[in-house]
Amino acid sequence: MAKKKDTIKKVWKYISRYRAYLILSVLLAAVTVILTLYVPILVGYAIDGIIGPGNVDFHGILGILIKIGAVVAATAALQWVMNAVNNKITYNVVRDLRLAAFGKIQKLPFSYLDSHTSGEVVSRVIADADQFAEGLLMGFTQLFSGVMTIIGTLFFMFRINIWIALVVVCLTPLSLLVAKFIASRTYNMFMVQSKARAEQTSLIDEAINNLKLIKAFSREKIIIDEFDYANDYLHDWSLKAVFFSSITNPATRFVNNIVYAAVALAGAIAACSGHITVGLLSSFLSYANQYTKPFNEISGVVTELQNAIACAERLLELINETQETPELGNAKTLSNAEGYVDIDHVYFSYSPNTKLIDDLELNVKPGQRIAIVGPTGCGKTTIINLLMRFYDPDSGVISVDGEPIKELTRKSLRTSYGMVLQETWLKSGTIRDNIVMGRPDATDEEVVAAAKAAHSYSFIRRLPNGFDTVIGEDGGSLSQGQKQLLCITRVMLCRPPMLILDEATSSIDTRTEIKIQKAFNELMKGKTSFIVAHRLSTIREADEILVMKDGRVIEQGNHERLMKRGGFYAELYNSQFKQPEIKTRKR
């Protein structure tokens, strides 16, 4: 509850910017509701002027009809303005929330991004924002005009005739009770239904995603049987849930009809004794019809509001997520780095329970090559995360050119590195958009030169629109190797003083791999580079090798030293590379 209040307070911060519109909306709602309720009374007066043959007050009726016309025209106009105002508030608030959320995404620490799926975050920014807007603001206006309608109706009814009004007031809560009774009875059925549905969906998910496997083992019939079992279960509960919940409307309508009959009875008898005119009786009857509607709507609105608050909570959780440690006020800018990198007593782990980097020491001079070696999934990216300052070490200092990276601006540190990851990432847009990422001002000649140097020019030229070919999210139809060449081109254009490279593993065919290798060599000329290495030649030529296993650096040194040591590296080397060597030598 306290949390809910807190959420509402935070939401208010975004809504309060449109306070003036909000007040306007409330005023308009009040006015339109009162005007809407006034019309049946006017109609009643008009009908009272029509008594019988030769007994019609044309003059009076004409006046009333003109009045009705004016009221209706005003109501319609105000209603439209109110809707437009509400739309404006809703869409603007959502826009502001989305902007805030997107701004936050840009500043989220990687520990957050790595532990949440993209779908989860996207659904907060897109779906939750929408649901919140519709639920909260529409819910709010409905709630407000609903309450206004009820109060207004009561007011008019009591003014016309207290006794008939009392009949209505006493009987209408019945419809609420009935609706509530049905809802509480069906709640359980809905729970079972959604559980059954979730189970079936997970079965469908599994069976369809792995359909090829099912075919390979000829399991189709067995899976269909399993499915039918779940399907029949779902059928039984769906039928109950759908049917019983659909009783709500007829039941409340029935209560409504009874109220109507009661009003007709009380009203007609009152009319006989002249306590009420026929026209006002008809106004009463139309009120009796309208009166229960907001009650039923309000009960729906409450769940909608609760849902909206839940959505807002998720969205605000994202917006208020702690962001990466801000830069120091006097952060220095690193320009034209020479390429000294010092890692001094660095400790790091993603979670406190598992130590990963334990007292890492590394001194790199300009132009040196550092190879990071180890089995797949051993956490080689951890080193990249620390160098690029995607994560901060728990203790210890990493410095570039003698400056601790914590005292540098992130922007200048990151632009000093060129990074090519094995998991290539391309944005939707043209090939050119993707290449000029680091230097939006690059000329055509520079782009072509970079592409030539990175060996990507030949395939780009063959694409339908060359550099202007639009590629979809994540590269679309390009092959893995082509995507990596594009990523290299991107870095080639910037020529940063230091490099972080992730060598291709088996997913790329040999010929492209040779091209990528050539491009890497071109890039690395005279630059400090960190390479996640798979190729023997890269490893052997490295000035320093970091051997990683299970996320930790377990050995460190150059090839000869590590071989002599006879540890994990030697074992890895022998198992992967030595054996075939002997065999070929025999020949």
Binding site: V43, A46, I50, I51, F58, L65, I68, G69, T75, N83, A84, N87, Y91, V94, R95, F102, L113, S118, V122, I126, I204, I208, N209, L211, K215, A216, F217, S218, I223, D228, H235, L239, V242, F243, S246, P250, N257, Y260, A264, L265, A268, C272, L285, N289, G377, F390, K411, R414, Y417, M419, W425, P440, S479, D509, T510, T512, S575, F577, P580, T584
Partner: protein
């Protein structure tokens, strides 16, 4: 849509009775204004309390009848709609299970899942809605008009004018806004894409310091979305005020007309009230109808999508042969070629080789060189477009597909397990196999050791996709699963990637020593995995660049040499 109606066949009775009872309910509702008119004209005018009480009891009775009718209608509608969707879901699921790999590739799993889940749910609500409301609303609208005609023809003409005008407004606004809603959906998609990109590409974007530029781009897309939304909002916000104005204009005319008719004695006061009540009923129902048409078009679109999937037929024709020729080679490719649907070039072509019992065949080549395509031809996951593939001397197309696949154990690249237990996953290879088979399979796949270390051994729970096991454990279990079949042909499609070297070596040795001598196909990009095979097929861009042993290929196959030396550089030889 029409084709899907077949699944409503068993609910004919319900589909007729549902709307029928709904109509009855509406009919009784239409009587109410007449009763009220009678109360005013006879009861109040004659000060007849008894008459008034009787009429009000009739009103209450009409309410009871309405309740009974509509609950009955809801029941039949729910029964028909839920029953329909259950049958449809079964039929669609079974139909999807009949698809061959080609169809699965063409449609895509995520599409199929959407069809099975949210699309069918939408159709269910659609059917329910149609049975309950589709007849009711027009019936009330026209019923009210007809009732008006029975009261007074000149007054009823106002209805005849008002209804088309209202319909024009309601449906005109709907038609106008629908394309705009689509446009705003596209704008939303573009906001969504940008958001997702900035999460999945966060490392690259921040490495290139793109944050500001991306934020500007996002703000622009966001603004576009909001301006479209506001525009659509302004138009659809016209609906309520306009209909309200028209209805009340009609009421004004009606009262004026009524006043003149009452003055001339053609109408009574109560009848004017009745006409006024009918006018109010029309508005409510028209708005309901408009909302329903929106949900209905959605449901109809879903139904059409489902129906499209139902129209897709499995492209493989089943054969009838169940056993092969005894002494024929186990696998034989004769100039086989495969072209995927919609592709312009073959994935593999010109493949010819034979493999006999107990032989090990290695298949090597770069990504996209057609290795998996080649082995997929053996269990007939795809049909050749030229040449043929024979198993035990019989063309795979002549086999009964289940009989063919029973001979073959496949270990796919992606190690996927199903929700259940270790045992239930192994049973995929055959539920009725005896213990010896299981022990042999588990031992050979090097799974014994780790299964015993699991909390509950063979009864350990396996979550969806096997995500509670490590990659290596999953991979070994998928191998055990295939070995449970004691297959004549075993296909290992790059399936030792998560195993460490020692386990991989043990696994390969164990497979060689299997007592039933399967013919083994090993697909890999690594020369070290296939070097020891009896026969290596080197694929380059879908075409065999060489077939032979490791030594032969080193001598005469340029592509093989290139692959081999890229993984084991030449200088190693010089050094040694």
């Amino acid at each position: 849509m029409k084709k899907l109606l077949v699944y409503l066949k068993d609910y004919k009775k319900e589909s007729v009775l549902g709307p029928l009872f709904k109509l009855l309910e509406a009919l009784f509702e239409l009587f109410v204004p007449l009763v009220v008119a009678a109360i005013i004209d006879k009861g109040i005018a004659n000060n007849d309390h008894g008459y008034i009480v009787r009429m009000c009891i009739i009103l209450a009775v009409l309410g009871v009848i309405g309740l009974v009718c509509s609950i009955t209608a809801q029941f039949f509608a729910a029964k028909a709609a839920v029953g329909f969707s259950t049958k449809l879901r079964h039929a669609l699921f079974a139909h999807i299970q009949s698809f061959s790999h080609s169809e699965i590739d063409a449609i895509g799993a995520s599409t199929l899942i959407t069809r099975m889940t949210s699309d069918i749910n939408q159709v269910q609500s659609g059917v329910n809605l149609v049975l309950r409301l589709f007849l009711r609303s027009p019936f009330v609208v026209f019923g009210a008009m007809i009732m008006a005609f029975t009261i007074d023809v000149p007054s009823a003409l106002i209805f005849a004018v008002a209804i088309p005008v209202l319909a024009l407004i309601v449906f005109g606004i709907m038609l106008l806004t629908m394309p705009l809603y689509k446009k705003s959906q596209r704008a939303l998609d573009s906001v969504l894409t940008k958001t997702r990109e900035n999460i999945t590409g966060a490392r690259v974007l921040r490495a290139f310091c793109m944050e500001e530029r991306e934020s500007e781009d996002f703000a622009e897309r966001n603004e576009t979305l909001v301006s479209i939304q506001k525009f659509v909002g302004k138009i659809s916000a016209l609906m309520n005020p306009l209909t309200y104005a028209v209805i009340n204009a009609a009421v004004i005319v009606l009262i004026w007309q009524g006043a003149m008719r009452v003055d001339s004695g053609a109408l009574t006061q109560g009848q004017v009230v009745a006409l006024y009540n009918y006018m109010s009923q029309i508005l409510v129902e028209l708005i309901k109808l408009a909302n329903m048409i929106i949900s209905l078009t959605k449901a109809l679109a879903c139904a059409n999508r489902i129906s499209d999937v139902m129209d897709i037929r499995c492209s493989l024709k089943n054969g009838s042969v169940s056993t092969g020729i005894e002494d024929a080679p186990v696998v034989e490719f004769e100039n086989a070629a495969l072209m995927y649907n919609g592709a312009s070039e073959t994935a593999v072509e010109g493949v010819s080789f034979t493999a006999v019992r107990g032989e090990m065949v290695g298949i090597i080549g770069g990504t996209g060189s057609g290795k998996t395509s080649l082995v997929n031809l053996i269990p007939r996951f795809y049909d050749v477009c030229a040449g043929c593939v024979k198993v035990n001397g019989v063309d795979v197309r002549e086999y009964d597909i289940d009989a063919l696949r029973a001979k073959i154990g496949v270990v796919p690249q992606k190690a996927v397990l199903f929700k259940g237990t270790v045992r239930s996953n192994l049973e995929w290879g055959g539920e009725d196999r005896d213990r010896d088979f299981a022990i042999e399979a588990v031992k050979a796949s090097q799974s014994m050791e780790f299964i015993f270390k699991l909390d509950r051994g063979f009864d350990t729970y396996v979550s969806q996709n096997g995500s509670n096991l490590s990659g290596g454990q999953r991979q070994r279990l998928t191998i055990a699963r295939a070995l449970m079949k004691r297959p004549e042909i075993l296909i290992l499609d790059d399936s030792a990637s998560a195993l460490d070297f020692a386990t991989d070596a043990k696994l390969r040795r164990a497979i060689r020593n299997l007592p039933y001598d399967p013919t083994v196909f090993v697909v890999s990009q690594r020369a070290s995995s296939v070097m020891k095979a009896d026969k290596i097929i080197v694929l380059d861009d879908g075409v065999p660049a060489g077939i032979g042993t490791h030594e032969e290929l080193l001598d005469n196959c340029e592509v093989y040499r290139e692959i081999y030396y890229s993984q084991f550089p030449k200088e190693e030889q010089a050094n040694g």
